[in-house]
C-alpha cells in the first residue's frame, strides 16, 4: 500500500491481478440500502416477512388440523374443507361474495376508466371539484361510508324480497361507489405517461375519435385497467365494514359470515373458508400480473 501511495501510477501498473481487484473492491462504498451487504437490513426484511406471513401460514396450516379447537395440532385432515363446503349458509355467503365481486369489478372498471379519461382529456368548469370528489371515497373512513350507505338505503328502501342476485344490489352499489375511484386513480397514473402525439398520429392517419380510443388509447391503458380491475375485485371480495352495514339477514357475504362464526368460536372451518379466500385472491393477482406482462415495457415512442 505504501508503494501505491508514493508512486500511484507505477504501483497500479505493477500490482498483480488479484490484488488489483481487491484494491478496487475496497474503494466501492456500501450503499445505504444495499441489501446483500448490510446484515441489519436482512434482519429487518426477515422480521417483516415473518410478522407478515407467519399468521397467514398458521391460519392455512390449522385449516388442516384434526381438532375442534385451533390451539394444538392433532393431525392432518381435509374434513373442515368438506364441512365448510357443506355448510349451506357459508356456501351461500361465498357465492354472494363472488357474485358481488364480479359485478363490482365489471362496473367499477368501466366507470373508473371513463372517469380517468374524462379528467385527462377534457377541461370543464368545476373540474378540480369533480376530481376532489372522485377521490373522496378513497380517503373517507370506511365506517363513515358504511353508516352513510345504511342511512341512504334506509331512506330509499332495501332490496329485500327481490330474487337473487337482485337482493344483493345495495351491497353491490356500495362496493362500486368505493372501488371505482381506485380504478380511476390507477388508470389516470398510466395516462400521465401517454404520448399525446400517438393520438394525433392516429387521427392524422384517418382514424376517428372512437377508433383512436379503441385502437390506440385503450390498448395503451390495458396494464392500468387490469391492475384497477384486480384492485376492485379484491376490495370487494374482502370488504367487511361497508358490507356489514348494508347486508341483511339473507344477503351475507363471506367476510361477514366468517366474522359471525368467529364470534362463537374459531374452528378450523373458519380457517378453511379463509384459506379459500386467500387462494382466490392470490390466483387473481397472479393472473393480473401475467396479463400485464407483455405490455409492461410501456411506451417507447414517448418523449
Amino acid at each position: 500500500m505504501a508503494n501505491l501511495q508514493t508512486h500511484p501510477a507505477e504501483g497500479e501498473r505493477r500490482v498483480p491481478k488479484g490484488r488489483a481487484e481487491r484494491v478496487r473492491r475496497r474503494r466501492v462504498p456500501i450503499g445505504p440500502l444495499e441489501y446483500c451487504r448490510r446484515w441489519w437490513l436482512q434482519l429487518i426484511v426477515g422480521t417483516t416477512f415473518l410478522l407478515l406471513y407467519a399468521p397467514i401460514a398458521t391460519l392455512v396450516a390449522f385449516s388442516f388440523n384434526d381438532s375442534r379447537r385451533n390451539i394444538v395440532w392433532r393431525g392432518f385432515t381435509f374434513d373442515y374443507y368438506v364441512k365448510a363446503w357443506n355448510n349451506q349458509s357459508l356456501f351461500d355467503a361465498f357465492v354472494n361474495s363472488l357474485t358481488i365481486a364480479v359485478i363490482n369489478t365489471a362496473v367499477s372498471t368501466v366507470l373508473g376508466v371513463l372517469a380517468a379519461l374524462l379528467l385527462w382529456r377534457f377541461r370543464f368548469p368545476g373540474k378540480a371539484v369533480y376530481e376532489g370528489f372522485t377521490a373522496l371515497p378513497i380517503v373517507i373512513p370506511e365506517i363513515c361510508m358504511g353508516v352513510a350507505m345504511m342511512a341512504f338505503f334506509a331512506r330509499v328502501g332495501w332490496p329485500t324480497g327481490l330474487p337473487w342476485p337482485l337482493n344483493l344490489s345495495n351491497i353491490t352499489i356500495s362496493h362500486i361507489a368505493f372501488s371505482f375511484p381506485f380504478v380511476a386513480v390507477i388508470v389516470r397514473g398510466r395516462l400521465i405517461g401517454f404520448n399525446r402525439e400517438l393520438e394525433d398520429a392516429s387521427k392524422d392517419l384517418g382514424a376517428s375519435e372512437w377508433q383512436t380510443l379503441r385502437h390506440i388509447v385503450l390498448p395503451y391503458l390495458r396494464p392500468g385497467v387490469v391492475a384497477g380491475a384486480l384492485i376492485a375485485f379484491t376490495l370487494s371480495l374482502d370488504d367487511f365494514i361497508i358490507t356489514f352495514f348494508t347486508s341483511g339477514p339473507d344477503t351475507i357475504t363471506l367476510p361477514v359470515k366468517i366474522f359471525s362464526m368467529v364470534r362463537f368460536s374459531v374452528t378450523p372451518e373458519v380457517n378453511a373458508a379463509s384459506t379459500v379466500l386467500i387462494i382466490i385472491t392470490v390466483i387473481a393477482t397472479v393472473a393480473a400480473t401475467r396479463l400485464q406482462a407483455p405490455t409492461r415495457r410501456g411506451n417507447p415512442g414517448g418523449g
Binding site: 398520429a201 392524422d204 392517419l205 382514424a207 417507447p300 414517448g302 418523449g303
Partner: protein, 375 residues
C-alpha cells in the same frame, strides 16, 4: 418562376395562445412536388403552422387550402396530408406491419390492397425485414422509417415532417437527409419539413421560409437565402456572419460609401442587384467568415479600398482558433476591438501555412461579398 397552382395556399393565418401570438398574419404558397422547409429558432411558430396544416390547431384568422380545396375547418382525419411526428409516435403495441397498415385499416381498405401497399411502403423505406418487429425492438432510425412508411402508405398530397431528424445522432441524420431527398424524388409528393437546423434546411429543401416571432422573414432558395439574406436576423441565423454597424456617408456612380466604425470608409459597388438604401441612414455591413482571407503581410486593400486594389483589408491579431478538421475557424481581434471570424480550409496536411494564436494577420475580402442590410 412559372405559374403553377399552389398545392398549399396559406392566407392571412394568425394563431394566438392567450396573449402570445404564435403565428402572425402568415401568407405562403407552396408548389406541387416542392421540398419546402420552415426554418426558425424554437418558439417562432413553425411547428404551430405545421400543426395547422395537419388540422391539429384551429385558426384564429385566415384560410388554408390544400389541393385547391378549403381545409380551414376540416378535421385532421379528413385532410389529404400526413405527418411524421417529432417523437415518431409509432404505436408501441403494434408491429411494424400493423403500424403501417393502421392508416389503411381504419378507412376500411380491402385487405388484399392493404397487404400490397404496406409491402410497397416497407420496401421503399427498407423495412421489409422488420415487418414483424415491435417498436421497442427497433433503433431510432428504424422507428423513424416506420413513421415515414406509415405516412407514405396513405399516399398523401403533402407530407408534413415535424423536426424529423432531431432525435438522431449526427451520422444517421446526414444519411437520413439524403434518404429523405431521394424518397421525395421517387414518390413525387410535396414535403414540408419543420426544422431549427439550418444545415438540414439548406441541404434538403428547394425553398426555405425563415420564421421569427410568428412572422416569415424571408422565403428563398437555399443559395439565395445564404448569399442574399434580406435582414440582420436571417443573416445571423443562417450560417455565421461578421456584422458591422455603419452609416451611409457618400455616393458615386455605381458605388456607395459607407462609414464603418473601426473600418473607415468602405466603397461598395451598387450594381449587383441588392436593394441599396436610397437615403442616408444606419446600415449593417455583413461578410461571411469563409469569404475572409488572411495574409501574413499587410497586403490587399492596404490603401483603404478606394482606388487601385479593390479588396477591403485591415489588420488584426489572432485571438482564438477552433479546429474542425476540414476547416479551422479563426477569431481575430481587430484594432477596433471587434472580433472578426474567418473560416480557413485546411487544404494541406502540413501546418506551415496556418496561423497561430497571437499572430498579427492582415484580413481581406472582396467588396462584392459584402452585404448591406437595412433591417
Amino acid at each position: 418562376m412559372e405559374q403553377v397552382a399552389p398545392i398549399i395556399s396559406i392566407q392571412g393565418v394568425t394563431k394566438r395562445f392567450g396573449a402570445v401570438v404564435a403565428v402572425d398574419d402568415v401568407a405562403l404558397d407552396i408548389r406541387p412536388n416542392e421540398f419546402f422547409a420552415l426554418l426558425g429558432p424554437s418558439g417562432c411558430g413553425k411547428t404551430t403552422l405545421l400543426r395547422m396544416l395537419a388540422g391539429f390547431e384551429t385558426l384564429d384568422e385566415g384560410t388554408i387550402s390544400i389541393g385547391g380545396k378549403d381545409m380551414t375547418d376540416v378535421a385532421p382525419n379528413r385532410r389529404p396530408v400526413n405527418m411524421v411526428f417529432q417523437s415518431y409516435a409509432v404505436f408501441p403495441h403494434m408491429t411494424v406491419f400493423e403500424n403501417v397498415a393502421y392508416g389503411l385499416r381504419v378507412v376500411r381498405t380491402p385487405s388484399s390492397e392493404i397487404d400490397s401497399r404496406v409491402r410497397e411502403a416497407l420496401e421503399m423505406t427498407q423495412l421489409n425485414d422488420f415487418a414483424g418487429r415491435k417498436p421497442d425492438q427497433l433503433s431510432g432510425g428504424q422507428r423513424q422509417r416506420v413513421a415515414l412508411a406509415r405516412a407514405l402508405v396513405k399516399r398523401p398530397q403533402v407530407l408534413l415532417l415535424d423536426e424529423p431528424l432531431s432525435a438522431l445522432d449526427a451520422k444517421l441524420r446526414e444519411a437520413m437527409q439524403l434518404e429523405l431527398v431521394r424518397l421525395q424524388n421517387s414518390v413525387g409528393i410535396t414535403f414540408i419539413i419543420v426544422t431549427h437546423d439550418q444545415n438540414e434546411a439548406l441541404s434538403m429543401a428547394d425553398r426555405i421560409a425563415v420564421m421569427e416571432g410568428g412572422k416569415i422573414r424571408q422565403i428563398a432558395r437555399p443559395s439565395e437565402l445564404y448569399e442574399f439574406p434580406n435582414c440582420r436576423f436571417v443573416a445571423d441565423f443562417i450560417g455565421k456572419m461578421n456584422l458591422f454597424e455603419g452609416r451611409i456617408a457618400g455616393r458615386e456612380s455605381g458605388k456607395i460609401g459607407i462609414e464603418v466604425a473601426g473600418l473607415g470608409q468602405l466603397w461598395l459597388p451598387t450594381d449587383d442587384g441588392g436593394a441599396m438604401p436610397a437615403q442616408a441612414g444606419d446600415v449593417g455591413i455583413a461578410v461571411r467568415p469563409e469569404k475572409v482571407r488572411l495574409h501574413r503581410e499587410a497586403g490587399p486593400g492596404a490603401g483603404g479600398g478606394a482606388a487601385g486594389d479593390h479588396r477591403i483589408g485591415l489588420p488584426g491579431k489572432v485571438h482564438q482558433i477552433a479546429y474542425y478538421g476540414d476547416t479551422s475557424h479563426v477569431f481575430i481581434t481587430l484594432e477596433s476591438g471587434q472580433i472578426l471570424s474567418a473560416n480557413l480550409q485546411n487544404e494541406a496536411r502540413s501546418a506551415a501555412h496556418s496561423v497561430a494564436v497571437g499572430e498579427d494577420v492582415w484580413c481581406s475580402w472582396d467588396p462584392g461579398d459584402v452585404l448591406v442590410l437595412t433591417t
